[in-house]
């Protein structure tokens, strides 16, 4: 995954992976180079597309290997020569799915040479020469896209700034609510701790796409028994405390565990405060949040000891709809259909969720206990959530520039 800082990624241990070591996504969009949450503006400083590159392609019966196979974004001269291959007489640059020809040189009989020029955006392409024993060769364009980036679009800049504020605020609230939760544990008030647990959780569930970037930190805060591995000593954070409160019914070790959780959350707050975001990863992160709701919450595995899945499910949906709200002014100008579809499907999820609201609800969550939600209700909810995620996934191409 990219280090663009936004992508929700449910890593395993990821202890070895610090965000700074992640590859910057070689994305075919102008936004990818705009900066990474973990590395500041490294991406933006990478290969600009100012000077042109030359790529030579020699047609042989074996193929049409582009040399070099990787160039920075910008103007590229493709020089094609036929070095005597009888059956191979053309080279094309195609999109990686080969559906579109971007440039080509045809009818090069042996001994002839030719070529074409293109301005290419970052991404992976295919050099294709029909008739060769290996007709397809990968061609990669790296670096920052030429042309206007999202940073020159005021609507997108506003959306990204709004999201940065949203994440920071929720992370600060996470720390605050977790501290209150820990105070109840310290005071041996286990009933109160059970009430405060889901209240703190919802803030994490809103920012999870961001927090996931720091994989090991995320695992220490939000890891489940099986991530990274079913070893008790590595099981820490919210869900270990959840297990203590609901399953073990024991506070032995809980105060220290909770203090460690707060420490990790403070570290997260420092990191998100410095993070930089971009619209593509914002959009993809919103989809991933809905995926997460549809996968881990519907199954009940996320909050398996407390059965407080409904409030965190709602937090996932809420945070992804926040992204839609932020991107909406821009999206309406791009494709008028995307936002209404998302809103319609978001409302459908909301209507279903309304059935499970209760006052004060299970452990004062405002919702019923998840175990009381029947299989057919879960399936209905899951179906609605999948439809919502599918609609959301249409945003990424719209905001990618």
């Amino acid at each position: 995954m990219s280090s663009d800082g936004m992508r929700w990624r449910r890593r395993g241990a990821a202890a070895a992976i610090v965000a700074a070591s992640l590859a910057l996504m070689a994305s075919g969009c102008s936004s990818s180079g705009s900066g990474s949450s973990a590395k500041g503006s490294t991406g933006a400083a990478a290969a600009s597309g100012d000077k042109s590159s030359t790529v030579t392609i020699s047609l042989t019966s074996d193929g049409c290997e582009p040399k070099p196979a990787t160039v920075p974004a910008g103007a590229v001269e493709f020089e094609v020569t036929n070095s005597g291959a009888g059956s191979v007489s053309e080279a094309e640059l195609r999109t990686s799915d080969k559906a579109h020809i971007l440039g080509e040189q045809e009818n090069l009989t042996p001994g002839l040479s030719g070529g074409f020029s293109l301005t290419v955006q970052p991404g992976t392409y295919t050099v294709n020469c029909p008739g060769a024993s290996q007709p397809d060769w990968t061609f990669t364009v790296t670096g920052k896209a030429t042309g206007p980036s999202w940073e020159s679009n005021p609507q997108l800049v506003t959306a990204v700034r709004g999201y940065a504020g949203y994440v920071k605020q929720n992370t600060a609230d996470l720390v605050r609510h977790t501290q209150t939760f820990c105070q109840a544990i310290d005071a041996k008030d286990m009933n109160q701790a059970r009430v405060l647990y889901p209240q703190a959780r919802v803030y994490y569930e809103r920012i999870e796409p961001v927090a996931e970037v720091w994989g090991s930190l995320d695992t220490s805060i939000d890891g489940r028994w099986e991530n990274p591995v079913t070893v008790k000593s590595q099981f820490t954070g919210f869900h270990r405390l959840e297990q203590m409160l609901w399953q073990d019914n024991s506070r032995s070790g809980a105060p220290a565990m909770c203090a460690g959780l707060v420490t990790n959350e403070r570290q997260l707050l420092t990191l998100v405060s410095k993070a930089q975001y971009n619209p593509l990863e914002m959009a993809a992160g919103a989809t991933d949040l809905i995926n997460e709701a549809g996968t881990a919450k519907i199954s009940g595995e996320e909050e398996r000891y407390s059965n407080t899945d409904l409030p965190v499910f709602a937090a996932n949906v809420e945070a992804s709809m926040k992204v839609v709200t932020l991107l909406q002014p821009y999206l309406r100008g791009k494709d008028a259909g995307v936002v209404p579809l998302i809103q319609q499907r978001g409302a459908a999820v909301g209507n279903l969720m309304a059935h499970f609201k209760a006052t004060p609800g299970y452990d004062q969550t405002g919702y019923v206990e998840y175990t009381t939600v029947t299989k057919s209700d879960r399936r209905q909810l899951s179906t609605a959530v999948n439809a919502l995620a599918e609609a959301m996934s249409k945003m990424s191409a719209q905001v990618s520039g």
Binding site: A26, E226, L280, A284, R379, S382
Partner: protein, 434 residues
């Protein structure tokens, strides 16, 4: 050898593969009257499968369907055999009350049945209208379709039930806890396994069904899986197939032609503590659910970064074509690795794991729709063969940081010791029980 019911006693050494030893009543029940008897064989080898030897190939058809894979050989078939398109895999437990002799007899009977089916024959001829048919019959008329039957022994077989504890290979244990797994006991473990592969789903299924039927009362299915598309290439003659993620899978797999790599990484050799296993291998299965709905809505470039390859061509993101060696050191234009640090092919590569290889032979599977979520219950039924299960443990541990973990989850697991191949006249279990 005494017979509990006074039936005929046969010298096991003289039993032909097609024949079952008669013997105690339990075993007689097991085999069915005359199921593998000489009479049946004499009655004709005219199998219900279309046999290449006896059947004229219609319209010059020399396709796969007619092709048989030899049952006998130094190694069991179905390991380096060019991967067939379809799989049926049964994991079975030995039922309580089974004796060592019962188990050994079953393995002998299975040998004959497997050899016959691999040759395109039914497990037994129909003879008595008043008896249940010997063969279940669903594969009648289907070409043999390169059927292979491969058996393995799970760790549980070597407990105190059958006096095999001293024969247990030290390397044959249940796997330790591994990253990104949440194993369902209903799809984990087994005393014995039967892997049937063929280019026809019915033929593969038929093999497992009939071996399970023959074994009823001695063994019972623990779980079963059907694979509907191979996800690996085990020969340079094969094109690389795609898994349910839509990516080519197994590009860098060990191939049957790579004898040295096979000896280094797949076949059990002199290093084992159990001579009976030499020439065999270890089989690890992992039932890997893919959250395909989530995957399908990830944008293309991200999918490619997760895997480390281009989706259509299969080329590594470091450039070249499908079979170009990935250049993990190569930087993209931004100074970061062209093949991302947490990409699947990087973390699973021999370069990242001390040179370790395994022979993958997995299949796409589906169990239908998750009744609770309404999403696809399916993914990869991972099968791999290796010299020691520790190879898989090392690789899977390295995959703790795999970006792909967001989209997959291991839900089943099993490990088996796969004995070496047989010569005509030998039976499964001969070396183990001697």
């Amino acid at each position: 050898m005494a017979s509990r019911d006074g039936g005929p006693v046969m010298d096991p050494a003289r039993v032909e593969p097609e024949q079952a030893p008669a013997g105690p009543s339990r075993r007689r029940l097991l085999t069915g009257a005359g199921l593998f008897g000489a009479g049946a064989v004499a009655g004709g080898l005219t199998g219900y499968f279309t046999s290449p030897a006896t059947e004229p190939s219609g319209a010059g058809d020399t396709s796969f369907g007619q092709q048989t894979i030899p049952f006998y050989g130094a190694h069991q078939a179905g390991i380096i055999t060019p991967a067939q398109d379809r799989l049926a895999f049964g994991a079975m437990n030995v039922v309580s009350g089974t004796s060592r002799a019962d188990l050994r007899d079953l393995l002998r009977v299975w040998t004959g049945a497997a050899a016959r089916m691999a040759a395109g024959q039914l497990v037994g001829e129909e003879s008595d209208p008043s008896a249940p048919p010997a063969d279940t019959g669903e594969a009648v008329g289907s070409p043999v379709s390169r059927l292979t039957v491969t058996i393995g022994y799970g760790p549980g077989l070597f407990d105190d039930r059958f006096g095999l504890a001293a024969r247990k290979p030290a390397a044959l244990t249940d796997l330790p806890p591994l990253p990104n797994e949440n194993l369902d006991p209903d799809y984990t473990g087994g005393d014995l396994c039967v892997q049937a592969c063929a280019d026809n789903p019915l033929v593969a299924f038929h093999a497992v069904r009939n071996l399970a039927r023959i074994g009823m009362g001695v063994v019972a299915h623990n779980w079963m899986e059907l694979g509907f598309g191979r996800t690996s290439t085990t020969s340079t003659a094969q094109a690389t197939p795609r898994n349910l993620l839509g990516f080519k899978d197994g590009t860098r797999n060990i191939k049957a032609e790579q004898t040295e790599l096979l000896n280094q990484h797949v076949w059990v050799g002199q290093e084992t503590d159990q001579p009976w296993l030499r020439g065999g291998s270890y089989l690890v299965t992992r039932k890997i659910r893919m959250f395909v709905e989530n995957w399908d809505r990830d944008y293309l470039q991200d999918q490619e970064n997760v895997i480390g390859r281009a989706k259509v061509s299969g080329a590594p993101l470091s450039g070249g074509a499908e079979f170009s060696t990935p250049d993990f050191a190569k930087a993209g234009g931004d100074g970061q690795p062209a093949i991302p640090a947490d990409s699947h092919i990087r973390l699973a590569s021999p370069e990242h794991n001390g040179g370790i290889h395994i022979l993958r032979r997995g299949y796409s599977f589906t169990d239908g729709i998750d009744p609770q979520a309404g999403t696809l219950l399916g993914g990869l039924f991972f099968i791999a063969f290796m010299k020691n299960p520790s190879q898989f443990v090392k690789l899977q541990t390295a995959l703790a940081d795999d970006a792909l973990n967001e989209y997959i989850h291991h839900t089943g697991s099993a490990t088996f010791a796969v004995p070496p191949g047989l010569r005509p006249g030998q039976h499964y279990g001969d070396a183990l029980f001697t």
